[in-house]
């Protein structure tokens, strides 16, 4: 069930009606949200719900066990087992066949006949996200950063809450669980939530979908059939497409949670305006980059043990971040590029700090970071490693043919997506404040008409969000 569909609207109407009917009965509201979340998840495959329930039960029990003892060794043992089980589940579903494939290729190279069998199991949508939730909870309980969750209902809702279940943002236990202790005294921010939904729909249905079907997919499917200008535009197009697709999901998830009375953290903040690669990661998929920082980079030692180990930790963190996206060498290269880029940038930081202060230097820095990110996107988007190399080779030749695939609309959408990176925050706040003055019926009618317009402008049907597969 995708957010921008009539089926989801109907589902949300039922949930909103239950929330309105239950008024102050907070426990009943949470129970309804758990049932609704499992129903939402079962729309992909009901068997996935068993996995989600198992992951929730594991986190809950591990939290209770860690909280039940003051013995440091025992707490560490429980933490280790819980994290290993979470990662084991993720590993089996996401990486088992990749390791089998790599092992078989290695065996063939060594002249061995025997091949390991593939499991060929369906990857459960969103498994990475609820695994990250589970790990963050048990680690935070171990560190004492979050109180032990004693209510299984709260744990079930934390792990399954439908707005963030399949593609994030990754909401930390310390951020979300306190919201489940008592209802929020704040009013529901209806106007900003509606604005986020409309913005998300526009980015996904119009910008991301048209760029995908009109430019990115055909060019990446056959890079050798396209000239340099089309390849370059398709690279920019993919940068805009993946931003609009993923940030749209986050916007809508944040808005839906807000309409149900919960707060979510920001997940994107105009990433392509970054002047440093490090800054890019402070603006892109913020909930994942902070998760990797707190549960991987820092436990590895962070920047506490000298320069060399800092570079190593950056590289390792981004490599694992790359592998998280999928079991393929292209993601390894993507992670290595970002890890290497961050390490080199850190090495050059004193020089960059001295020379990148003026406006022209900052513009150049932004362009360099954007193009480096685009280069890494080529590996991320290409079907495989070989196609990525063909694509890069194509960028260096055949510049005389002009733009064939990238029509004026595609160029316009890319320009719009990039211009959106430089819109001041206060514009959103002003628009939300202006909408906030409208009566509820006016807001509802405006939203309905705007959604109808976006639906009319968009292509038939809606493609799944890119991050569903991660």
């Amino acid at each position: 069930m995708l957010f921008p569909t009539s089926g989801f609207l109907l589902f949300f109407l039922v949930v909103a009606a239950a929330m309105a009917a239950l008024q102050t009965r907070f426990t009943a509201k949470k129970a309804v949200l758990v049932v609704a979340s499992y129903y939402f998840y079962a729309q992909w495959d009901w068997r996935f719900c068993l996995l989600l329930a198992a992951s929730s039960a594991l986190s809950y029990l591990a939290g209770r066990l860690i909280g039940a003892t003051a013995d440091r060794e025992r707490r560490r043992l429980v933490l280790g087992i819980a994290v290993a089980l979470h990662l084991g589940l993720l590993g089996i579903f996401k990486y088992f066949d990749f390791f089998v494939l790599s092992a078989n290729e290695l065996a063939r190279m060594l002249g061995m006949q025997h091949e390991l069998p593939f499991l060929e199991i369906l990857l459960p949508v969103g498994i990475s996200f609820f695994t990250f939730h589970g790990i963050s909870y048990v680690v935070d309980v171990y560190r004492g950063d979050v109180a032990v969750c004693r209510n299984p209902l709260d744990m079930a809702l934390y792990m399954s809450f439908f707005p963030q279940l399949v593609a994030g943002p990754i909401v930390r236990a310390a951020y979300f669980l306190p919201q489940l202790e008592r209802p929020s005294p704040e009013p529901i921010p209806i106007a900003p939530a509606l604005l986020l939904i409309l913005l998300g729909l526009f980015k996904k249905v119009i910008v991301a979908n048209y760029l995908a079907t009109g430019l990115v997919d055909p060019v990446f499917a056959a890079p050798t059939s396209h000239g340099g200008p089309d390849l370059l535009l398709a690279t920019y197009g993919y940068a805009v497409q993946i931003y609009c697709d993923f940030s749209a999901y986050s916007d809508m998830a944040i808005a839906l949670a807000a309409l149900l009375g919960f707060r979510f953290p920001a997940n994107f903040n105009q990433p392509y305006r970054a002047e440093r690669l490090r800054e890019f990661w402070q603006r892109w998929h913020i909930s994942l980059s902070t998760w990797l920082r707190d549960y991987l980079y820092r436990p590895l030692g962070g920047n506490r043990h000298g320069r060399f180990k800092t570079y190593r930790n950056l590289l390792l963190t981004m490599l694992l971040g790359g592998i998280w996206h999928g079991a393929a060498w292209k993601f390894v290269v993507w992670g290595a590029l970002h890890g290497g880029g961050l390490a080199v940038e850190r090495m050059l930081e004193p020089w960059l700090g001295r020379h990148c202060r003026t406006l022209p230097a900052r513009i150049v820095a932004t362009l360099v970071v954007f193009h480096f990110v685009c280069l890494a996107w080529i590996f991320f988007r290409a079907e495989d490693f070989q196609v990525a190399w063909l694509y890069l080779a194509g960028l260096g030749q055949g510049w005389s043919g002009g733009l064939r695939q990238a029509g004026p609309l595609m160029v316009g959408l890319i320009a719009l997506g990039l211009a959106g990176q430089f819109i001041p925050d206060r514009l959103f706040e002003r628009a939300a404040a202006a909408l906030g003055h409208m009566p509820v019926w006016g807001l509802g009618a405006t939203a309905g008409i705007a959604i109808a317009a976006i639906g009319a402008l968009g292509p038939e049907g809606v493609a799944p969000f890119i991050y569903f597969r991660f």
Binding site: A20, V148, P187, G407, I451
Partner: protein, 113 residues
Amino acid sequence: MVAIEKELPSVAARPAAAPATADAIPLALRRSGGSARQVLALSLIGALALAVFASRDLSTWLDRLGGGPVLEPLQHAAAQWNGAMDRLGLTRPHDALRTAMRRLLDWRWDTLP
């Protein structure tokens, strides 16, 4: 055992300290708003506006769900509703936008106006 249980809160159930994570919707915008009932009212009005101005999409969506004793009457009703909206001229903005978008998609550099 009792002694251990008394010790636990200081070890495991320390007051939760939320990480320094910025809320997606800033505090200034969360100071005013509405209730769950207003959210429901707004969603219903929005759905009604959609049913009026995107009646064709409603009918298409129901058709895509397949057949059956529950769905067929709904599909028939949606088709009639779409016909009624069409007669009232309320589907024209939807059609006009779709046509305009098709034209934009067909534009090429050598056919630009």
